[in-house]
Amino acid sequence: MKTSSKTHFLALLAGIVAGVSLMIVFNTAWTRSSSNESCMSCHAHPESDASWKQSYHYNNGSGTMTECAACHLPPKGTVKYAAAKAKIGAKDIWAYVTKDLESIDWDSKGELEHAQTIVYNESCVACHVNLFPEGITDDGITAHLYYEDNVEKLDLQCISCHLDAGHYNPNYKHGTLKDAPKLSGVIYEKAAEVTEFRNFTETVPGSTAAISMIAVPGGEFYIGSPEDEPFRKADEGPRKMVKVSPFFMGEVEVTWNQFWAFYSETMSEGRTPPSVIYANNTREDIDAVSGPTPPFGIPDQGWGMGDRPAITMTHYAAETFCQWLSLKTGRHYRLPTEAEWEYAARGGTDTPYFFEGNPKKFSEKGFLKGIFKPDTTGIDGYVVYALNSSNRSQEPSEVKANPFGLKNMLGNVLEYCSDYYAEDAYANLDEGELDPKGPSEGEEYVVRGGLYNSDASDLRCAARSCTNHEDWLKTDPQNPKSIWWYSDMKGIGFRVVCDVPENIDIK
């Protein structure tokens, strides 16, 4: 008995020693595998390492450093931490083994849409326990009180506003744009003379803005898609034949240069109440429009301005731009109707795209598409979309025009139409109707053409979409929220349409 209990005791001791040793080894491995060195050993992204070192999370007054895992994993000691670590670890190893690291577009991983999938908000607030540090401005207090009041309701993220906190980005500025960027170039004295129905370049008096306008001949076409079109959605039918009168349409989406010309001439003081703006802009005897208030932040997302499409403005801002352009030029500018837009996008074709090709071939959706990449030949030169955009808008010079001479009708950025959106809009059209308009009332507006991160299936000429007003404003901390700028939607822009002046004969 005595020997036996002694053996038992020794066995117990050995068990404990073995257990503790295992725990130490495991713990060391567990801790080491969350270290910066461990992250960087696989993550072959020297730019991200460098931008981290330039960010406040490394380069700050306190001299402390925030490690990769502090933001890119949930807070330590939580169940979620272990689960996320295991999942991310497995995913990263898989990527390391199977993917060409050179081909990964690290830049676009830093865009908010992706960043919020790899940055844990609970980790931000685990360190940042006081959102109201000494020296915070009243704007900062307002924004952080809004965050605290709405964090759960609206699923707000710290990085919605502080995207560059962990990785410095010289183009990302969390601040307010005070004045429109200075525009260089010829200042036009008068609007273009238009005497016949052909392409012309509008020149906006008193500004450097010139807008290339394409003469779109009238005609008839089938709006919507046939029932057997791949990826067709219910709102694309029933297909109807409708007629469209001739009109002029911007060759490209309104550019930043054009939009800033408008902004710098019409800018309203910050926080001008919407009621004051609406009242002015609806006056019968209006001689000058009230334009946008300064945006909250820098609206080009650091992608560059110039000829890139102007983005993030609201439908009201786009309409006001048209109102301004009309006043300046004496011609009637407006947003296209949905029918005009689709007619123009098709450019006389009735295939899914204005170029040849089957959506099934181009799309990433579908059987085995996760493994075998879709074919991009035939679509690449015509549109800016998920597979060639680097997750941002591109200049119009990157693409070829459609048969009417219009560029970027599909892809690049979504474009506003003047119509309200209704899923059953086409059911209410008459066969052969001339210049049809959408429903007379609605909540959201039609947006068309897909954008830089769209799958090819959403770039079909018939594909429809709509604004999502509240969601597109969810992190706007102002009250009332801006009527000019969206805080949470980047890829939205517009192009203008000009009515054919009455004195012009259309042959």
Partner: protein
């Protein structure tokens, strides 16, 4: 294998004991408390300890900003609250007010405040806070409170903030942010919403928190009283001087009486219920007031986040029915502060504050003293305390009621908490003012 056996045996023994323990504990607990679902989990809410006097400890050096009636009252209260308290610095916009309190302190408490620690003017608050004080009593007119609190916190000074602590959204935000900074510095901040230190209210709060009236379904709060004091303009007084000396009648200084006075009652509903105001729709009017640009009555329907409504009314007119009270209704009963009692849904009194028993236990029942007892106890124990956050939220509710009455429109929490409204004049100096900014508000647009 042997250790496994031992482990199992131990484990079984252990778990047996544990099971017994759990069973025993739960029987014990359930046998001494009636089945009641608490409104708040125990330990998640603050119940102040309210001894007659603060514990002994190091000398507390006190500064006073605003030497008028409330400042003088607070000085008396702080002396009653603790021993080893010294008033070391005074500040006021006007020298005559300061000298009056200075003489009062010398006469009643034998403490002399030297000339170099007496400061006059709009910036005197900085001098007081910088004069080496531990605890500053902020009792200047309310519009100044956020800036005074902010400066005190920056300098690491504990504060007593007379209510209201904000009269506009800008001030609300300053206080909210400063309260966090004070918390980070482990500072003590007590507010002049003294019902939080009044024994019957504190006991009722505990009962309601334990679930005695169930879930909250509504309430009423009242401050209907006679006319308040006013000062006619004297010869030689500039616009600014007159308004400050007559401050309870000017909305930019006081926030109007719905904020200045009635915030007490609004605050009690929000404290007891734990709800937050989402909307306010109300009206108000002026019939009898002699000076200033305020209303003398308000009636507001407050809607909370979960759709619960409570009604608020306040009036300052002589010769009318008066009442200052709060009522909170719940799914199991109601509480009211008139009788300090809780009734069940049939009207039976199921709890009542036992005044006699409490008077046998304690000598000090004055909440204006007890709030300083609590503050100084926290200071001496080195424990932080934040009353400013909740008080600021109550003030903003009062501001919502006021703006709703002034405009005739429903106002929301989101719109007010982010509003640009800022009552502080661009420049503070004794002299003429553009008095066209200080006129009665007319709701609506119809003639």
């Amino acid at each position: 294998m042997a250790n496994k056996e031992i482990n199992r045996r131990d484990f079984l023994q252990m778990s047996g004991m544990l099971g017994l323990g759990i069973a025993g504990a739960s029987t014990l607990l359930s046998s001494c408390s009636p089945k009641q679902k608490p409104l708040r989990e125990a330990g998640t809410y603050y119940i102040p300890e309210l001894p007659d006097k603060a514990i002994d400890g190091k000398e507390i050096k006190v500064g006073v900003i605003g030497c008028g009636g409330r400042g003088s009252g607070a000085v008396k209260n702080v002396f009653a609250a603790a021993d080893n308290v010294k008033i070391v610095a005074l500040g006021d916009t006007f020298a005559d007010r300061l000298e009056k309190l200075r003489a009062n302190i010398k006469e009643n408490y034998g403490q002399e405040i030297p000339d170099e620690n007496c400061f006059v003017g709009f910036d005197s608050y900085k001098n007081v806070i910088d004069a080496g004080v531990d605890y500053v009593i902020c009792t200047a007119p309310p519009v100044f409170r956020p800036d005074h609190f902010k400066y005190a916190t920056e300098k690491g000074v504990h504060s007593f903030l007379e209510k209201p602590i904000a009269v506009d959204p800008k001030g609300y935000r300053t206080v909210m942010a400063t309260a966090r900074q004070a918390k980070a510095k482990n500072l003590v901040v007590v507010c002049g919403t003294q019902r939080h230190h009044q024994r019957p209210y504190v006991q009722a709060f505990e009962k309601i928190s334990q679930g005695m009236i169930g879930e909250i379904t509504g309430g009423n709060v009242y401050w209907n009283q006679g006319m308040l004091w006013y000062k006619n303009r004297e010869k030689g007084w500039s616009d600014m001087e007159w308004m400050i000396r007559d401050w309870v009648n000017w909305k930019w200084l006081s926030g109007d009486h719905i904020v200045e006075q009635h915030v007490h009652n609004i605050d009690v509903f929000l404290w007891m219920s734990g709800l937050k105001v989402a909307k306010a729709t109300g009206f108000g009017a002026r019939h009898r007031r002699i000076t200033g640009d305020q209303y003398d009555m308000f009636s507001i329907d407050f809607e909370c986040e979960n759709g619960v409504h409570f009604h608020s009314m306040c009036r300052q007119i002589d010769g009318c029915s008066n009442m200052v009270a709060e009522e909170v209704f719940g799914t199991k009963g109601s509480w009211n502060s008139r009788d300090h009692e809780i009734k069940d849904l049939q009207g039976n009194v199921i709890w009542k504050y036992d005044k006699e028993a409490e008077e046998a236990l304690f000598e000090q029942h004055n909440p204006y003293v007890l709030e300083h007892v609590d503050a100084i106890n926290h200071i001496r124990k080195g424990e932080g305390l934040d009353e400013a956050t909740d008080c600021a939220v109550s003030c903003l509710a009062g501001i919502m009621g006021r703006e709703s009455a002034y405009t005739g429109n429903t106002v929301t929490w989101d719109e007010m908490s982010q509003s640009d409204l800022d009552y502080m004049p661009a420049e503070l100096k004794i002299g003429p003012m553009d008095m066209s900014d200080y006129v009665l508000k007319t709701p609506g647009t119809a003639k």
